[in-house]
């Protein structure tokens, strides 16, 4: 572990340097800068708050309370303002996400192709409403405005995998597959 922050306000070791790997065709793209490095590099240049929040979310999966304090300390932007920016943008989340983030597309093309039945099925199958995380921490269910796969409508994304041309039956099949996969992994871990 490299602790690149020399003067963190009070909490020295909660951040870790993490190298983000992006699979497949994006592999050779420029490596993303870590949250830690970004904070350390911050030189008071204006306009850095959103990128800082984005890397915090990438690091933690959400924006924890302590990250707000931390960013505020380094940038001298009041915590209330940081909070105001977080709640303005739909990308930022203040609660941890489930293991699988299910994003049902609610764009126009999906809407006219029956997205409502897909969303109802997902709520039913996952047992949570839009915006919530299941109690076991497995699934977070969100809707998005448009994934941009309009020709495969209706569409949903589970983490980074897109599933298209959905029907209520195929949705249930896909969710069951993810459930089984996790069960198998857990069982393998026990034995």
């Amino acid at each position: 572990m490299i602790n690149v922050l020399s003067t963190p306000p009070g909490r020295g070791r909660f951040l870790r340097v993490k190298v983000v790997r992006v699979k497949g065709v994006m592999e050779t793209a420029a490596k993303k800068e870590s949250f830690n490095y970004r904070l350390w590099k911050y030189d008071g240049a204006p306009g850095e708050l959103i990128p800082l929040l984005q890397s915090a979310q990438e690091h933690f999966g959400y924006i924890p309370r302590r990250a707000i304090t931390y960013i505020s300390g380094v940038t001298t932007i009041p915590e209330s303002d940081v909070y105001g920016v977080i709640t303005f943008y739909s990308q930022f989340r203040l609660q941890p996400m489930g293991k699988f983030v299910v994003r049902a597309c609610a764009g126009t093309a999906c809407h006219v192709s029956g997205a409502k039945a897909i969303i109802d099925t997902l709520e039913d199958e996952l047992g949570v409403e839009v915006g919530d995380t299941s109690e076991d921490g497995m699934f977070t269910f969100l809707t998005v405005a448009c994934i941009g796969c309009c020709s495969l409508a209706p569409v949903m994304m589970i983490n980074n995998d897109t599933h298209g041309r959905l029907t209520p039956a195929s949705v249930r099949k896909i969710i069951k597959k993810y459930r089984r996969k996790t069960d198998n992994e857990n069982n393998a871990g026990v034995s």
């Binding site: 050779t28 920016v85 303005f88 943008y89 941009g148 409508a153 209520p168 039956a169």
Partner: protein
């Protein structure tokens, strides 16, 4: 040497291009002397993705609906044995004579591609591919042979109008920014494509990122700016990755940086990721977001050309606009203005989606009719449905009914219908789409995306949404329609930015063309399209029902009866229209009617 090219845009990847690419990589690695493997962006034929193209001495051949298995077959037959597979899978091809063939050849033949000139043909991650296709030729001409005034004059003469939706003349906009004095000026590229149903900017960024960079550098010289920002939505990770690569490659080659091509012009740029706010597509909100604040629009004047980003003179254009610029500089203003209509020259990219057969991207000259786009290029309506309307311009736009299908798409004719050009999303609707429900859908979107600054937009859209929700639930009253009309006018008049000023458009256009449908909901409590759940009855199709009892077990009010392995029926008196039977049926036997 044969070249194998896999379409790796977001549309291709979500249809399964990655396993196809992996399989072809394994195969081609065994024959390094006979073929090379490359990737490309979206060619626009999203409805047949994943696509694989083979380029050899006989020309180009594109195969559609490729799976990992059929990729292997194509590799063995076409690449190794040199025999093209002659069946439906060949969707497009060009032989050595320049003649086209293939089952979907008409889709590309009916288009005129300027913005999409390289999309689907070059490798977007290779700057040399772009240069071979004539890339950075426009930049060279602009830097070495042209003065700033000449560039702006060329843009004015070309007649190019902003492709983000408003259609403001680009050359005029540049001249405003150029005439304002300042030590620092900015060029901003708006890549915050937030309209649901529009994906042309994403395809350009993923398929031809250098064209956008080239356009921005030319703009930088024209207005005297040396720094630029690309504001791209974070929902487009692949576009951002390809842009980052393109910027790094352009810096290496000296197209970005100091003293570009020895001309004394300096220009560099940076990507800013959006964080998911539709209102940030509005330019002043976009500047606020780049500055790290909540993306709320600012009062104009002062206009961005005077005081924009960081209070400096700024020129902001959309992705598609910038992608047009290098072509115009290379080919001259008159070549561009000769295409399209007199007041709306050039071409426009449209994203066809919804109930259309060929969902994808099509670039056509301005002035092409809606009918030509939907039927000749788009292939008509899915499942032999009836064409009801086309929605243009996203949440700011409106629904154009089928009776106006002869309307040419340009900046004059479309606004006359009450819709807007918008960024070019075209969602096609058939007889099963309820227009009141569509209006509710868009109001729901704009209501949740309103930043909250202007009272009429913040509260007015909520009131409109409540009325529309009431109508779709069968609780509408005769006074609702005048209320909607009144609120529409007030919100338009009293909102600061484009979001509020256009938010009532979907309601106004549906009221204008589908008033009967509203009345049917309010007076007779019926939804003619059979979409609004509260106003329809749920019905089990006897032929499809296998008697699995799943719906009966899921019904919360025991309204469904029937024995195992026998057709079930719904008791309409008991039914509460919750929709559980539809979502639980594995045989699509439950329908609304």
């Amino acid at each position: 040497m044969k070249k194998i090219i896999v379409g790796m845009g977001t549309c291709g990847l979500s249809a399964g291009a990655q396993p196809v690419f992996d399989r072809l990589k394994n195969l081609s690695d065994s024959y390094p002397d006979r073929c090379e493997l490359s990737i490309t962006g979206c060619i626009g034929m999203c409805f047949r993705e994943p696509l694989v193209e083979i380029r050899d001495e006989k020309g180009r051949t594109i195969y559609g609906d490729v799976s990992a298995e059929s990729a292997e077959e194509i590799f063995n037959e076409h690449v190794l044995n040199g025999r093209r597979i002659e069946d439906e899978r060949v969707i497009y091809g060009v032989d050595t004579e320049g003649d086209t063939f293939g089952s979907e050849a008409y889709f590309l033949n009916l288009q005129e591609r300027i913005v999409l000139r390289n999309c689907g043909t070059i490798n977007p991650e290779s700057i040399s591919d772009y240069e071979e296709a004539g890339g950075y030729g426009g930049l060279k001409k602009a830097l070495t042979d042209m003065s700033s005034e000449e560039i702006i004059q060329t843009m004015k003469d070309s007649g190019l109008r902003g492709r983000g939706g408003a259609g403001f003349p680009t050359g005029l906009k540049w001249s405003f920014a150029a005439s304002n004095q300042g030590d620092t000026k900015y060029v901003v590229c708006n890549a915050d494509e937030g309209d649901p149903g529009a994906f042309m900017d994403r395809s350009v960024l993923e398929g031809d990122p250098h064209a956008v960079l080239e356009g921005m550098i030319i703009c930088g010289k024209a207005i005297g700016a040396s720094f630029g920002y690309i504001y791209c939505r974070a929902e487009y990770p692949l576009a951002i990755a390809r842009l980052e690569k393109a910027i790094a490659a352009a810096r290496d080659k000296g197209y970005l940086g100091e003293n570009i091509m020895g001309s004394g012009v300096n220009f560099d740029l940076k990507i800013k990721q959006g964080a998911g706010a539709f209102v940030c597509g509005e330019e002043t909100a976009l500047f606020a977001s780049i500055e790290g604040e909540r993306g709320m629009p600012r009062i104009r004047p002062p206009f961005p050309a005077e005081k924009g980003l960081w209070q400096k003179p700024t020129n902001n254009n959309n992705v598609e606009t910038f992608a047009n610029v290098p072509w115009i500089i290379s080919n001259g203003a008159s070549a561009y203005s000769s295409i399209g209509t007199e007041k709306s020259p050039g071409t426009k990219v449209f994203a066809l989606a919804g109930k259309v057969v060929n969902g994808g991207l099509a670039e056509v000259p301005m002035g092409t009719t809606i009918e030509h786009l939907v039927f000749d290029i788009g292939g008509g309506i899915k499942n032999n449905g009836v064409f009801k309307a086309v929605q243009m311009g996203g949440p700011s736009g409106g629904c154009i009914p089928s009776s106006l299908k002869h309307t040419p798409v340009d900046f004059e004719s479309i606004p006359a219908t009450g819709a807007i050009m918008g960024s070019g999303g075209m969602v096609v609707m058939d007889q099963g789409t309820c227009m009141v429900e569509i209006a509710r859908f868009f109001l729901n979107f704009t209501q949740s995306e309103s930043c909250g600054k202007c009272t009429f937009c913040r509260i007015g859209t909520l009131r409109m949404l409540e009325i529309l929700e009431r109508i779709t639930k069968g609780e509408g009253t005769p006074g609702d329609i005048p209320k909607l009309e009144k609120l529409s006018i007030q919100i338009k008049e009293a909102s600061l930015c484009g979001l509020g000023q256009t938010a009532p458009n979907p309601v106004q256009t549906t009221l204008r063309y589908y008033l009967d449908e509203y009345k049917e909901h309010i007076e007779n409590k019926k939804c003619p399209a059979g979409e609004c759940e509260a106003l329809v009855e749920f019905y089990i199709i006897p032929d499809k029902c296998v008697g699995c009892t799943l719906c009966a077990r899921n019904c919360p009010v025991d309204a469904i009866t029937g024995k195992a392995r026998e057709v079930h029926t719904i008791d309409q008196d008991k039914c509460v229209k919750c929709g559980k039977c539809i979502t639980s049926c594995n045989f699509n036997a439950v329908v609304k009617r």
